[in-house]
Symmetry: D2
């Protein structure tokens, strides 16, 4: 049983079927195929506004490409200290932007506030040309610690950013999980809340390998930047087909809601385990908990994969995927109880 | 009917089946899955030597990543003027290397000789620190104009490179087509001929999106370079499965041979068309020809997709794919004859 | 006696005096000093328009910084094959732009024409996102082979550039020598002829180490780009003082005219040497000539430093500096005659 | 009177004289002159070991070039949060390295300990290819807050670095001030303590614009990296002459000692000012103090330039230069007392 990462889950049946359907004869390459041609409109419908969509195959590619569009080489990107762009992309943002500086912010649940951003911005400016230009802000939705920003929180952050002349990016590697929790329109927490560019993730939530850079404002030569990063697929149809199926008929939200539901069940169950502390809020599909060492060992001993979180003693992360079943969660809770009693 | 590019072909049945088979339950992500774990050995068997394999999803990624491993930012890469790395990757090599300089060489069929390389190297060195360091050579096999290097030609080139302290890369986007023509062992035209790094292509020849960077010599931190370029797939199994199926049981060579055979048939047929000149050698799966404008228009009017080659009047490229059928080629020849007579 | 390069000449008395005068007590650093404060206006007067001036200490810095302002990482810079930016800066333009592509053009005297540029531009565009964006043009004035563009030649080039949406740069490492020859206003061959950014050189013509990036159109964050390249001097006054003295009272033109005059004398004299061919035009301070090997050896044997030009048999370059004297030139001519007769 | 920065001081008489002496006739350019030729040996004598010296014109250039030699694009540089490389160089290290990540450490006086470094290193490694490779450590001597590392502190830091396979850099923009305080051999706190590369500063301490990158271990192609950054001066003799004069006869230490002495006097005097708190240790030429607002205003009102330190209320920095006089310091103390009593 695997709760280590939603990245370890298989691709959803609907996605696999869409890939198979796309495999019909010859079509033009590099995005000149009919499926790709539909994406701007389909995502435009989803987001209730005109958008440009650039499909890519990884979240790191989506984030780094997005940031390179809104932050110059001499710029500074504000993000949370625990942001994926700051910690888990081997300096891809620095690479794609040509050397921009990431400026980490603090805050519980890997969320930062508009005030924290404002204070950080106010600390810049005294050094003139000796310091990078505050240029961009990146928020993660849902966050790397499983929390979710409310639309008004995003709006407050982007208002501070806009006032300082900065552009805004949302890392939505788990965007579906956030929307499933919020119950709002995707627009409400993105462009209506002031977001300029969104990394819209699908891979963790059922796709094979598909993410979309969604531009709510036109950005110069995004296509050339994608191309020179090696991210313009020749057989683009297979990538676009995943994205099309993912947003068709609300599949993405159904899958995300399923994962969230299991995470909530898991959190509830773990709270009843002696010695366990679930680190609320569990607002998406990730559960962070402090567990007694014996429980951690016991779970792993029973073949349950989890993520021993680096840097915090006895902290683990358990992630529920779109395909995590009731019995899987039940089994974890039961195993944790057993281990706690031994 | 599509002869415009092998990139426009569908994925082969065997590849699709392998992807479907890989979609079983949870496995570890980012290359820690069992399929990826087998690749080094499988490719080692294929190449009769120890290798390290890094799967990526595009030829540009494979080439740019490869060059970044063997050429420093202050280095110079020698390649043919018509090389894909020089013309068709929107400066991806410059991006990945951090600003290296590509030094184009001349030669018919997009091939250059060891002598041409030697002369170009001899023209460097007079400017000291004012000029980039000759660091790497890149050859394309088969070339962008459909020609194939013989093992001894590659060996002569790499000997000149080695003598000048340079490392060597082969862009094998159509490597299968070259080997199908040469009939030699893959080793003979790569590491045994002095190649250090190979971009081993599969996408044009039946894969969905899969290329392998094959390292014949260890290169420091290739994995981190792949990661920061956004090319480390979370669900790597789907990429590795394509590569595994592609080289299993000689599928790659069967598919390439089929494409080559149709290209030879097509070339033969077009030579009989009044006013047509096939630009030999047709050694792989690409046919370059000068056709009367009426023939070009006639083919397109009959729904046959081809590539009007930029820069040369009345020159077209017709590419045969692994799945191009006898009747497709026959139809082109027949249509060309018709159009020539009108 | 040294005719190898004007870079080997000492600093002019007037420049040394200006540096000494600037060394009075404490002044604000990083360009907040009174001398630097005057530069925009002084250069504005010289160029008869509003300009922004960024002093730097090398021609490579001036060129690479300039190009980074007008060419994005995914852009293409058109320049002559023999351009300093293409050949003698160890890929500094690629480094500063973040990987832009230099596209070399041909033409005698290291000059290219508006037509050559137009044809090169027309060869782009067929590859879509696969090729870099034509973004900038760089011309050298006077050229690396000692020729000078007429204002109307520059205007024709920049018109082609502008029509293609490109910005324009002039490498004026020997700008003074060009103006001394043309006798026109500096404006006539720069912004009035459509140039956006000028590398205004002083080092080769009497300064200790001083070049100015002169912006005829505002460019975003040029200061931050200079800073992160390590080219923002703390004691900027010493750099600005050189530039101020250099353009005050026409010093720069007097020095350049003196150098040009000696080059003309040298060319005339060498033409009378048996077996020698001076490669006209000698329009600035550089003389290129094919000399009999015995003459080259003879000159060097008599302690006369010259530059054996790489790549062309028996070709030498002799450069006259602002401080080259009549007797120096006479001595070269006399030595060449002697050597030719032995 | 200026206590704002040693960067605002004039050049020392001895340095100006050396520049004037260097201005004799023609010499070879780009470092092929006799003065530059002597530098390796002169610095070798000073440091009691074989070294390679690359003169550059700014501290940012020295630091960024140094880091690019020892940290790859996918690497991580550990440094203090207040390090100049982290805060005051507009991402020059990121630019020169091609996107490396700076990892800030904490510690009083802008010093960090070997333990702090060890703990930070231990926090890496859990993310595999997703995080940059710990590659380099940079310490500043004396620090940005005026403190000085003891040789054994440096040795402990470099021992931790070495054990983790990392290389080490010292930012010695105020290296003379540190050595004047320590009284040890320059070797003791650099290569004997495990430092690989030193930015040896002269500009703040009497030079016009001169810093030396001193390599204690050979580094590949440092010259080409300098060249492509635009930092290879054509008239290098003027830069090398400053460095030669600076280290000849102990000038650098005499100048630094004079500055340190005045800083000590200034600190003593300010401690007697009501409401003032000097932030010890004052180990070099910088005094950090918390002063009553009225005192800060009073000093500025009396024409005394100081640096209101950003980020800390009522904190100022006063820097003594090599040429700060007894009466200047006395005047500050007296003015502060006056202002405190009003």
């Amino acid at each position: 049983m695997n709760f280590r990462s939603d990245n370890e889950s298989p691709a959803a049946t609907e996605i696999m079927a869409a890939i198979a359907r796309a495999n019909e004869g010859f079509v033009h390459s590099y995005g000149a195929d009919p499926i790709t041609a539909r994406l701007d409109e389909l995502f435009g419908d989803l987001f209730e506004t005109e958008v440009t969509v650039l499909p890519v195959i990884s979240g790191t590619a989506a984030n780094a490409l997005s940031l390179s569009l809104i932050c110059p080489p001499y710029g500074m990107v504000f993000c949370h200290q625990h942001a994926h762009v700051n910690n888990d992309e081997c300096s891809a943002p620095e690479f794609f932007t040509g050397g921009a500086k990431l400026r980490p912010l603090q805050g519980p649940g890997a969320k930062f506030t508009a005030n924290a951003l404002r204070e950080a911005i106010e600390m810049t400016g005294a050094h003139g040309d000796h310091e990078p230009l505050p240029a961009a802000v990146s928020v993660t939705q849902s966050t790397e610690l499983g929390a979710v920003y409310r639309p008004e929180e995003i709006a407050a952050i982007t208002e501070v950013a806009r006032a300082a002349g900065m552009a805004t990016h949302m890392d939505g590697a788990r965007f579906g999980n956030a929307i499933a929790t919020l119950g709002c329109a995707p627009a409400d927490v993105t462009w209506r809340a002031g977001i300029d560019v969104l990394s819209f993730g699908a891979t963790k939530n059922g796709a094979l390998a598909a993410e979309a850079v969604v531009l709510f404002r036109p950005q110069a030569e995004a296509g050339r930047r994608r191309s020179r990063a090696g991210h313009l697929l020749s057989k683009m149809r297979f990538l676009s087909a995943q994205l099309e199926a993912y947003i068709a008929d609300g599949l993405w939200l159904r899958l995300a809601a399923a994962a969230n539901r299991q995470a909530a069940r898991l959190a509830d169950g773990l709270e009843g385990v002696p010695g366990a502390t679930v680190q609320r809020p569990v607002e998406a599909n990730e559960v962070f908990a402090i567990l007694p060492p014996a429980v951690i060992d016991g779970l792993e001993g029973r073949g349950i994969h989890l993520h021993r979180w680096p840097g915090v003693a006895n902290q683990v992360r358990l992630v529920c995927a779109y395909c995590t079943r009731d019995e899987d969660v039940d089994a974890v809770i039961s195993a944790a109880r057993d281990a706690a009693q031994t």
